[in-house]
């Protein structure tokens, strides 16, 4: 009977613990308090633990019953505790997120980054297009002999075509090259008799001129392909490919007869206007076309002077003004900006 009373007593106590604990749990606001409560209930000296200790005094039949009841309360408490813990964690996280909020409109920190000059950028781009077509890059001196700059290009002394290029002279026979074309002959001399000769030659050139559309120093990229069976149609194909890479896939080109002493036949090459697409606009002066380069089939005399037999090989050559291409590409209206080197201009590229 005593045992029975005990059982009832324990039961009542268990019920009380359960009720009080769950109530308390509701009130808690911090993880610390939550931990404390856990200790108070389930710790070594916790109330539930104390209850369990008293179970030894119960009859063997009642013990498992009581055990089961305690376990149920414990499970219930743990469940409630976990839920509460989760709730508090979430609250704490929400508080932290709120607290850590920053002004995302403030500017970020950008590492210093410089810019390539637009002309060197365009030259690299042109180089890359031609490298992709199997051309290599040749170079030649900027201070040149009259021979390479003129004579070897079929421009003997006193040839009226020399007037096309106003020249800076150092001595009677040494000058600042007026074109990158001398690299043609220098390259052929170096390569002969190997085939193909397939190079582009970017570089500085100089002419006695200075206004909004002329600079006394500017840049050209020369191209030369000498091999057996090179045709003018190949020139057209290569330049069409180049123009599309440089100015967009929908570009077309057209050739116009022209004159250069070192090519025959010679052609001026126009590309369909990149601004209006050929409709006609201010940029193309309503023609739909923009002149971008000069070209032609290498003159037999030039092949000979380069050490090749014009009966066996043919070739084409072309030359383009880098400034002009950069101006078209970036919509630059005054060439002088390119050599003014104002950093506000340079930082755009």
């Amino acid at each position: 009977m005593v045992q029975k009373e005990r059982m009832i007593g324990l039961k009542a106590e268990l019920e009380k613990i359960k009720k009080e604990t769950l109530h308390k749990l509701e009130q808690l606001n911090t993880m610390e308090e939550l931990q404390d409560l856990k200790v108070k209930i389930m710790g070594k000296k916790g109330s539930l633990t104390a209850l369990l200790k008293q179970m030894g005094r119960l009859s063997p039949e009642e013990r498992p019953k009581m055990g089961q009841m305690v376990n149920e309360v414990r499970a219930k408490f743990e469940e409630a505790w976990e839920a509460k813990a989760k709730e508090l964690e979430q609250l704490a996280l929400a508080a932290r997120l709120e607290e850590e909020k920053i002004d995302i409109t403030l500017p970020g920190y950008r590492l210093l980054k410089g810019n390539q000059h637009p002309l060197s950028k365009v030259i690299e781009e042109i180089e890359d297009i031609f490298l992709g077509m199997g051309f290599t890059i040749a170079e030649g001196p900027e201070i040149e002999t009259d021979y390479y700059n003129f004579e070897a290009l079929n421009l003997p002394k006193d040839h009226p075509a020399r007037d096309m290029q106003d020249t800076f002279f150092i001595t009677e026979d040494i000058l600042l090259r007026t074109q990158t074309s001398p690299v043609q002959v220098r390259t052929m001399e170096k390569m002969k008799p190997k085939l193909p000769v397939k190079v582009i030659a970017p570089g500085k050139v100089f002419r006695h001129d200075d206004d909004a559309t002329h600079s006394p120093m500017f840049h050209q990229v020369e191209g030369l392909l000498v091999d057996k069976g090179i045709r003018m149609s190949d020139l057209k194909g290569i330049l069409l490919y180049f123009s599309r890479q440089m100015f967009g896939e929908s570009r077309e080109i057209r050739l116009r007869p022209s004159f250069f002493p070192f090519t025959e036949p010679s052609a001026e090459v126009d590309v369909s206007c990149m601004l209006c697409g050929g409709e006609g606009c201010r940029l193309c002066k309503n023609t739909g076309w923009i002149e971008i380069l000069g070209s032609g089939m290498v003159h037999p005399r030039v092949l000979e002077m380069g050490g090749y037999n014009p009966q066996e090989v043919t070739g084409f050559a072309f030359g383009m003004g880098v400034e002009r291409i950069a101006m078209l590409k970036y919509g630059i209206e005054d060439m002088r900006l390119l050599f003014d080197n104002d950093i506000r201009f340079l930082k755009q590229f």
Binding site: G114, F169, P196, R231, L255, R256
Partner: protein, 803 residues
């Protein structure tokens, strides 16, 4: 060459508009730079005759004129004072329009009603019109102007001009006849020419008295002369004046106009000498040193023995092919004339005209090449016009003809045409081109031709020239687009080109902006920053400031920095990679060494940012950029104090360094010398200049990857107080040495001067990182190494340990 459409229509039935014709010519290889409407935009300008001129009743500077305009008489007020009664003048009647859409209305001018306006040539956009008296006032027309007719009809302004921009290979098109041939070829029309064009042999008796002698046959192949008597000098007729004006030539008088007109027509320059002023034999010879000639423009020219002249027994009377002499000029009283129609070698004319700075319609034709076959033909035209204009009577002819170049023949093979162009033209197509060109040819088997080139097409010499003719006349658009058939090649930059690109990209990645400056510069600054008196001078510089080829990139950088600073771009990170030119000796006899340098300039500081402090663009900042370059190139630079006397006045001695790599001199860096920056308008810039080749040569081309150790590292900091003159790097190197194999790296992470560090001392903090590739280090090992290091540097550098 200015081509009048009205004139061109004399030879060809042209249906195209001037703009269409311009496009056809341009696509055919004769570039048309512009189409000019000769009427600059006026309407209803009537030719009137001044009947009376009275002073204005209310204004001193105005006059009131009665002007007969045919249909009526108008009262017009004018401010001009160059008019006389009887003058023919252009009258803007009410409703008339002037260029710029200005409409004329009757107006009240100080109480007198003006029924129109008298116009000046400028107001009408006209040039080369009227009497000399027109200058600065009302345009006074020649007496042949018809009262009451429209001014544009009288001046032939209902016409356009094509401005041909001829390439030097087509001097033939500096002639209306040849332009007509070219246009005919491109339009598929046959031009109609008058009979005189067929004349090849003189039609006049030989003059026995006038001798002609070419003394320099290499410079003149033919000199033909037509001798004319009973000359009457007067204005040439209206049609001729109008055509000359359209071509941009001022009409003078019938004789001068005939020479100009025939030159425009055939391309053969002419000169008229007053025969009564000629003394003896006309000679074509080189001038003698010291000879002088007063040319038509009244200027006395000093001649030298490279200049071809026309001389008589008294000396030079004309600069051959360039300009005549004043002494033998045709004047109002001239009665007998010698018309010269000659060939002169282009190169000599070109040199003479350049040397004297004289260019004329004549010289610009001769220097590009004039057909020596055409001298007599042109004189036949002169004779015809003299008679037509009743300007004189052609009496006799004389010439000295040294030689005439043979007519060129070109062998053309259809196979080669098609192979070179990448086309498949038929024999018929090619033959059509020969016919369109009006060239004689013979067909031979297998698609081969012999083409006879007319003498006026001196540009056609070899087969390729004919291939271009065929291609352009059939049209370049007919050439297809193909790709080369040969072996495919791999395109790549040479290692050196790749390296140059890497340097450029490394510097831009590090924050530097690339600039590009002229290769020529001012001698003064290049002398200072480059190699004094070893800069190559340009014979004909654009300006004195661009007088020498640079031997250093620094003047260009400093100028760029100065320009930017003046524009308030104060914070600068600039570099340039470019060539300088080092002569082997001066004056230049061989090509100089072209040396690539890398140079840069930094000034100012980084932009303000809310998050990070501003960084000064100073010595250490630039050194940091250079260390980026070291890393990219796989090299290590060594910095020592500059001892090059060249820079002692240019760079701050305490803030500059010589840079070597692999024991080789690479270049220098440093802050500009105090006050020198102010002279440039700069604020303490720091500069560097490096030798690209030395950097390239020393750069590591092959990268070998190292593995990293698996055992943990131990890090120890060591702060030392040392006398401030001791280079930090010396201590660092000594520590590394003392640390032996186990000491992997030593970094300086703090430098401090000031309280509590005693004056004359600095505190330098090193971070030492110990690590073994084979095992985990024991604390004791490190402690023992560290204390040995400390003891040694204390002794050797007078350092104190700062705990």
């Amino acid at each position: 060459m200015r081509v009048s459409i009205e004139w061109l229509r004399q030879y060809l039935k042209i249906e195209q508009t001037p703009e269409e014709l311009a496009e056809i010519l341009t696509r055919g290889g004769i570039e048309v730079g512009g189409v000019e409407d000769l009427n600059k935009g006026f309407k209803n300008i009537i030719i009137g005759e001044i009947k009376s001129i009275k002073p204005h009743p209310n204004a001193q500077k105005l006059q009131v004129c009665d002007v007969n305009i045919g249909s009526e008489e108008l009262t017009i007020v004018t401010g001009a004072d160059n008019i006389l009664v009887g003058d023919k003048v252009p009258v803007a009647v009410p409703g008339a329009k002037l260029p710029g859409d200005k409409v004329i209305e009757p107006t009240d001018l100080r109480g007198v009603k003006s029924q129109g306006m008298l116009c000046s040539d400028k107001e009408l956009g006209l040039e080369f019109v009227g009497l000399d008296r027109s200058k600065g006032g009302i345009l006074i027309l020649l007496p042949d102007a018809e009262v009451g007719s429209k001014l544009e009809d009288y001046l032939g302004l209902d016409n356009s001009v094509l401005e041909l921009e001829l390439y030097p290979n087509r001097p033939d098109c500096m002639s209306m006849v040849n332009v007509a041939r070219e246009v005919g070829t491109l339009l598929g029309l046959k031009p109609k020419f008058a009979d005189w064009l067929e004349v090849n042999t003189p039609l006049w008796p030989t003059d026995v008295k006038q001798k002609i002698e070419i003394e320099n046959p290499e410079l003149s192949w033919r000199y033909s002369a037509l001798l004319v008597e009973d000359v009457v000098i007067r204005p040439s007729p209206r049609w001729m004046r109008n055509r000359l004006r359209a071509a941009g030539i001022r009409p003078i008088n019938n004789i001068v106009d005939i020479t100009n007109y025939c030159m425009l027509e055939t391309g053969q320059p002419l000169h008229a000498f007053d025969r009564d002023r000629l003394k003896g034999t006309v000679r074509v010879r080189l001038a003698r040193e010291g000879e002088k000639l007063v040319t038509l423009d009244g200027v006395e020219r000093q001649l030298d023995n490279s200049m071809l002249v026309i001389a008589d027994d008294s000396g030079p009377i004309a600069l051959a092919g360039v300009m005549g002499g004043l002494d033998t000029e045709v004047t109002a009283s001239t009665k007998r004339i010698l018309f010269e129609s000659a060939h002169f070698a282009g190169a000599n004319i070109r040199r003479t005209s350049r040397k004297l700075g004289m260019r004329s319609e004549s010289s610009s034709r001769f220097e590009k090449g004039v057909d020596p076959h055409g001298t007599v033909t042109t004189l036949a035209r002169v004779a015809e016009l003299l008679l037509e204009l009743e300007a004189g009577v052609p009496m006799s002819f004389t010439e000295h003809c040294v030689c005439l170049p043979p007519q060129a023949e070109i062998e053309v093979s259809l196979k080669r045409v098609n192979a070179l162009l990448g086309v498949e033209y038929s024999e018929q197509e090619v033959e059509q081109v020969f016919e369109a060109l009006n060239f004689d040819y013979e067909s031979k088997p297998n698609g081969k031709y012999t083409v006879h080139i007319p003498s006026y097409r001196q540009d056609l010499k070899i087969e390729e020239d004919m291939i271009e003719e065929i291609a352009r006349i059939i049209g370049y658009d007919r050439i297809p687009t193909t790709l080369p058939q040969g072996i495919q090649t791999q395109g790549r930059r040479t290692p050196e080109q790749e390296f140059r690109r890497k340097v450029r990209h490394t510097l831009t990645e590090a924050g530097m902006n690339e600039i590009l400056t002229y290769s020529f510069t001012k001698k003064d600054s290049d002398d200072i920053w480059g190699r004094r008196d070893m800069n190559i001078p340009i014979l004909n510089p654009l300006r004195e400031e661009l007088g020498v080829m640079r031997t250093s990139l620094l003047p260009g950088l400093l100028e760029t920095a100065a320009r930017n600073t003046a524009r308030r771009n104060l914070d600068l990170l600039l570099f340039e990679i470019g060539n300088v030119y080092w002569p082997h000796k001066l004056p230049l006899t061989t090509l100089p060494q072209e040396k690539t340098l890398i140079a840069g300039l930094v000034q100012g500081q980084s932009q303000r940012h809310w998050l990070v402090p501003q960084i000064k663009f100073d010595f250490y900042f630039l050194k940091g950029i250079l260390s980026q370059l070291e890393m990219a190139c796989g090299v290590e630079f060594t910095y020592t104090r500059l001892n090059n006397s060249r820079y002692q006045e240019l760079l701050h001695p305490g803030r500059s360094a010589e840079i070597t790599v692999g024991g080789e001199y690479l270049g220098f860096m440093g802050e500009i010398f105090p006050q020198l920056d102010e002279e440039w308008g700069l604020n303490r810039p720091v500069l560097f200049e490096l030798d690209f080749d030395v950097l390239y040569k020393n750069s590591q081309t092959a990268l070998v990857a190292k593995s990293y150790p698996r055992f943990p590292a131990i890090q120890r900091d060591l702060a030392l107080v040392v006398p401030q003159d001791i280079p930090s790097e010396a201590i660092k190197n000594r520590i590394l040495e003392l640390g032996g194999e186990l000491l992997q790296t030593v970094e300086i992470f703090d430098v401090y001067q000031g309280q509590p560090v005693a004056e004359g001392y600095k505190s330098v903090a090193f971070s030492l990182r110990y690590q073994s590739p084979e095992r985990t280090l024991k604390d004791e090992e490190v402690i023992s190494l560290n204390s040995n290091i400390l003891a040694t540097v204390q002794k050797e550098f007078g350092a104190q340990w700062r705990k």
